[in-house]
């Protein structure tokens, strides 16, 4: 059990993150529908955020917030999870939202003007 637990602690979050990243990329690369591509992009963003938070965690990590009961620094060594990548993820999530909102608006306008959501048909007549 011990070895499995250590393996899981080291790898499960990374495997999860990379799986989500891979699936998101797969959706973006193989689907014709624009909305599916944007969904793929959204899933890639979640995968990346999970990866960035995964590297900030270690098994005996503690929430990086000072509270009455929560001791972040134990005899001179920081035991909390790494707050810096978490702050980066905060920003990355909101950027993901911004990009998705803009992508959706463009998708809606494309549907309005091109009349189709198929990415292969969004092109100008080849003169």
């Amino acid at each position: 059990m011990q070895a499995l637990q250590i393996f899981l602690q080291n790898w499960i979050y990374l495997i999860g993150a990379m799986a989500i990243f891979g699936i998101g990329l797969y959706i973006t690369l193989t689907n014709e529908n624009i909305f599916k591509i944007i969904v793929g992009l959204d899933i890639i963003e979640s995968g990346t955020n999970l990866f960035m938070t995964a590297i900030a965690w270690h098994p005996k990590a503690v929430m990086p917030i000072y509270t009455a009961t929560n001791q972040l620094v134990v005899n001179g060594k920081v035991v909390s999870a790494d707050p810096l990548p978490q702050s980066l993820v905060l920003t990355a999530i909101v950027i993901g939202l911004g990009t998705t909102a803009l992508a959706l608006t463009i998708a809606v306008k494309i549907f309005e003007k091109y009349g189709t959501l198929d990415v292969r048909k969004i092109k100008e007549a080849k003169r």
Binding site: T28, I37, K123
Partner: protein, 621 residues
């Protein structure tokens, strides 16, 4: 440190700026062009051999010295180009062709800079400036589509040429660390012994550029189109002066022309010179043969001009004292008589409105002065003694025979007889023969043009009779190149190696016999004016011959039988290679355009695929 050298470059630049501003008023623009040429000519008198000037340019993060110095060769070239330019712009004062003055002045600035510069940066800068200015001025020709096509063809060749010089300049800069021409040429000749192939590589980079500009054999295909479709008053400058830049470039690099022991000799010449001589000879022959069958008179003279270039190259590549003197002398003569021919043609075309020989004919009564200039131009181009063409051709043959190259000399003889044939065809079909009704009200060139034509006639005869005045400066050039200059006794003599010719005696005898014949012609012959249509067929015009006024003009298919002889050679198209390259580029471009398939997903695929390739490269490396 003579700052006048710099003024040689700046006055044309300032003049071209003024001309560009005054572009709206046609006459003012031409006046400014002419006056700038004249001022530059005056400035030239204050510049002497041996003076130099350096200007420090803060470029590429360090101080690059741009240096000018004046050698015998540059003074000679400057004088003939600026003098001819002044003459041309004086002529174009009254000419209405769409020649943009400020572009010609830009070319003049580049011209002065090329001839006097001693550093590669300046040389390349001026070369490119002259390149693009001439490309844009070729654009302004009479017939839109073909002048655009010609300009683009010329642009491609000259830009490709300047890029090969780009390479040469920087390989030299890497080797010697200095950008000045003299040090580099000295360095090249110092290491020619050790590894000749390396030197051959670099020099051929430069020689490709010069051959393109001069229109020598493999790169001559742009010449007929560019000369024919350029504006009429620009062609004289294009063919007379600009082709000499190539020759000047070759003369710069010639002193290291592998004369040293490094190279195996063939027929007493290093094999590179031997090949180069053969290239010159083939250019001469190709030019002559192709010139036979042209109907457009400007194209005909375009072919003839690059065949004369072939003569010059053949002479220079011998690199013997006679050869180089003959080459430079022929360059000067070619500038003179080709310039005269093109100026008279400009006059004829501006009067008749067409450049097709089959549509011209019998103009000599209407334009006598132009007729005489044209006649003297034709005669000197063919090399008839009293006129200036004779001396240089004679010297070229002297040089060839002295170098024991019998076969090449025979080819050159063939080329010059061919030259006489197409020159006569042009002369006869433009001026002699029957004049069609269309040109009844054709008037002579206005006074300004006539003055220019008289000057040209006088120059051709003077340098024909007294070649000494030209041979003395050429001698100085040849001795500055380390060869023994030709002994020129009195001004009249042209001395080859074996025999010398007292030219004035010959010319006087010819003049006398010519005038006697002329008088007899006037006294005896009862000639009456015969209209064009009734001389061929004695009155009737049989229907089955379906003759049209054009076909009356006997210059129509003048050399048809000869064309038959040379027909098999026409299948190998010289510019097939370049046309093939152009088609290949167009094909690849439409193939590559397919990559941008305007589908967002495929672009994402490309991005990820590119990333994967580099990840794999990361593992492999």
């Amino acid at each position: 440190m003579n700052s006048n050298i710099i003024w040689l470059v700046f006055t044309p630049l300032i003049g071209s700026a003024i001309a560009a501003i005054l572009y709206r008023v046609k006459f003012l623009d031409r006046l400014v062009t002419f006056s700038t040429f004249a001022i530059t000519l005056l400035l030239l008198f204050s510049v002497h051999v041996g003076q130099s000037y350096t200007f420090n340019l803060n470029f590429m993060g360090k101080i690059i010295p741009l240096s000018w110095n004046v050698t015998h060769l540059s003074i000679f070239m400057l004088y003939i180009s600026v003098a001819f330019g002044t003459l041309l712009t004086f002529y174009s004062l009254m000419d209405k062709s769409r020649m943009k003055g400020f572009l010609l002045l830009l070319i003049l600035a580049a011209n002065n800079w090329i001839f006097t510069t001693n550093d590669m940066v300046g040389f390349f800068f001026a070369w490119e400036l002259m390149g693009w200015a001439s490309i844009v001025s070729v654009l302004g020709g009479r017939d839109e589509n073909s002048s655009r096509h010609a300009a683009l063809y010329y642009a491609m060749m000259s830009i490709a040429g300047s890029y090969s010089m780009f390479f040469g300049v920087f390989t030299l800069w890497k080797l010697t660390g200095s950008l000045s021409i003299s040090t580099n040429v000295a360095y090249l000749s110092s290491i020619v012994g050790m590894h000749p192939w390396w030197v051959l590589g670099i020099v051929s980079l430069f020689f490709v550029t010069f051959m393109i500009k001069a229109g020598i054999f493999p790169f001559h295909t742009w010449v007929p189109m560019a000369y024919a479709y350029a504006p009429d008053t620009f062609t004289p400058f294009l063919s007379g002066v600009m082709s000499k830049y190539g020759i000047y470039g070759m003369l710069l690099f010639l002193p290291i022309s592998l004369m040293e022991k490094g190279m195996p000799a063939a027929f007493g010449l290093p094999w590179v010179n031997y090949i180069f001589m053969w290239i010159g000879v083939t250019t001469a022959v190709v030019g002559t043969v192709l010139a036979f069958f042209q109907d457009d008179v400007k194209k005909l003279f375009a072919y003839s001009s690059f065949s004369n270039l072939g003569y010059i190259v053949a002479a220079i590549s011998l690199f013997s004292s006679v050869g180089v003197t003959a080459g430079i002398y022929h360059a000067f003569n070619h500038l003179l008589f080709k310039g005269a021919l093109f100026i008279t043609l400009a006059a004829v075309i501006s009067r008749t409105g067409t450049s097709k020989m089959s549509e011209m004919g019998g103009l000599w009564r209407k334009m006598p002065v132009t007729f005489f200039t044209f006649f003297i131009g034709i005669a000197s181009a063919a090399g008839i003694p009293p006129f200036n063409g004779f001396g240089s051709k004679w010297l070229i043959y002297q040089a060839m025979i002295k170098q024991h190259l019998p076969f090449a000399t025979v080819m050159l003889f063939l080329a010059s007889t061919g030259a006489f044939m197409y020159l006569f065809k042009a002369f006869h079909s433009v001026f002699l023969g029957q004049r069609s009704a269309r040109y009844d009200n054709v008037k002579e060139v206005p006074v300004v043009g006539q003055i220019v034509e008289y000057l040209l006639m006088f120059a051709m005869i003077f340098f024909g009779v007294q070649p000494g005045y030209i041979l003395k400066p050429i001698g100085a050039i040849v001795s500055s190149m380390g060869l023994k200059p030709l002994p020129t006794m009195a001004n009249g003599y042209v001395t080859g190696m074996f025999s010398n010719v007292y030219v004035p005696l010959i010319s006087w005898s010819l003049a006398i016999s010519f005038t006697v014949g002329f008088i007899l012609f006037f006294i005896s012959a009862k000639h009456k004016y015969v209209s064009q249509s009734d001389n061929y067929t004695a009155g009737q015009i049989p229907e089955e011959w379906n003759l049209t006024p054009e076909t009356y003009q006997f210059s129509w298919k003048f050399y048809e039988p000869i064309e038959g002889i040379f027909a098999p050679f026409f299948r190998i198209k010289i510019d097939g290679f370049f046309r093939g390259l152009a088609n290949w580029t167009a094909a690849t471009s439409s193939a590559i355009k397919e990559i941008f398939v305007s589908n967002a997903q495929i672009y994402a695929f490309f991005a990820v695929a590119g990333l994967i390739i580099f990840v794999i490269a990361g593992w492999v490396a």
